[in-house]
Symmetry: C2
Subunit: 218 residues, 2 copies
């Protein structure tokens, strides 16, 4: 028996949310691995990348099948094409968590050049932005999406703080470069995660506005 | 009069190729700006980002319209959904060229810490990979796509070379950090461009294989 279109859309929603929560968890764990210098946790993040890749394939297949078999119009069409774009961003977010975990592995046997303060803040921001962007997608909530987009400057600011401080440390003592540069990169990886969350939020704004345009009486 | 579907697909092809060539040019110019310490050229790259964003919107709109009005099946459906994904990658590639141009601006008034050798090589590789990936998409050529994907290791290797050399320079003389770290980041930006080209190539493999599966007699 053919399943109802609304049910299939709900399933698609759930799968995308699942992919997002795996990505969020990877961000959290990668920074925890760095903070606690925990090699096993870093490896766990690196290993979890396959789950994300499989989810991406599954979601894409479902989107393409829905397009092919249900030939959705207007708002459902936009929802599904936005879904295709969002999985790309989530996959990159998970890749960046793997990048962070690799930096954590590089630093696991050496004392940290400084206590981590702004990096964990940036990690929390990144997780909140990813969560907010996905909520805005599922609820088709343009205000929530705009909220996420507005926090991108915060991310840039935190990354700049980390970067400036680490360049100062290295300028004063070049021998600290191999322990400082990975941290500088982690701040950049986290800021890029925020960029991807911003992209998702912008796609949602565009999706909702497109829906509105398509639904205007003239 | 309604236009023919094949013609509209051809137009879509041309638009995607145009977006790719703007992105390729931005990569070239951003690294030229760095090499020649040319502030004006760097600004030009930063300004060209709007062209890419406009092209992305236009291509997406056309894809969504084609999905809505023509309800394409099988291979055309996959071609269009792959098109949606590719514009996302091209937009990120252009963003990364802007990142490189911003690093070029930071370095414009200071002598380079070392002559640039591997960075221009990496830039050429990045342009070739982007071009190859797009060719493979338009020609639906799985061998060409696999070729692009196989060059990703070259990109990682070149980035690692640049990174190692610059960390050594900074380790020996910390005061060179503010001039070395932007170059290290440029190598990373270029390697990420190669990653995006690889993503496009993988999407093409997946698209062509998907077409084959859909076309199997059983």
């Amino acid at each position: 028996m053919e399943r109802h279109f609304d049910e299939e859309l709900k399933d698609l929603n759930l799968l995308i949310l699942k992919m997002a929560s795996v990505a969020e968890e990877a961000i959290f764990k990668s920074v925890e691995a760095l903070r606690r210098q925990d090699k096993k946790l870093a490896e766990e993040v690196i290993g979890s990348d396959k789950i994300i890749d499989d989810l991406e394939l599954e979601i894409d297949e479902r989107c393409i099948d829905l397009l092919a078999t249900k030939q959705p119009m207007a708002k459902d069409l936009r929802f599904i094409t936005t879904g295709i774009r969002i999985t790309t961003d989530l996959e990159r977010i998970a890749d960046l968590a793997v990048d962070i975990a690799e930096r954590a592995e590089e630093l696991v046997d050496q004392p940290l050049v400084k206590p981590l303060i702004d990096i964990p803040k940036l990690a929390v921001l990144a997780q909140e932005m990813v969560k907010g962007a996905l909520d805005s997608f599922v609820k088709r909530d343009i205000d929530l999406a705009r909220n996420v987009r507005n926090r991108d400057d915060e991310a840039d600011h935190l990354r700049d703080l980390v970067q400036k401080e680490l360049i100062e440390i290295v300028s004063q003592d070049g021998s600290k470069a191999p322990r400082s540069i990975p941290l500088l990169l982690v701040a950049r990886h986290l800021e890029r995660i925020c960029d991807h969350a911003t992209n998702i939020a912008e796609d949602v704004v565009y999706m909702v506005e497109g829906m509105v345009i398509k639904h205007r009486p003239f």
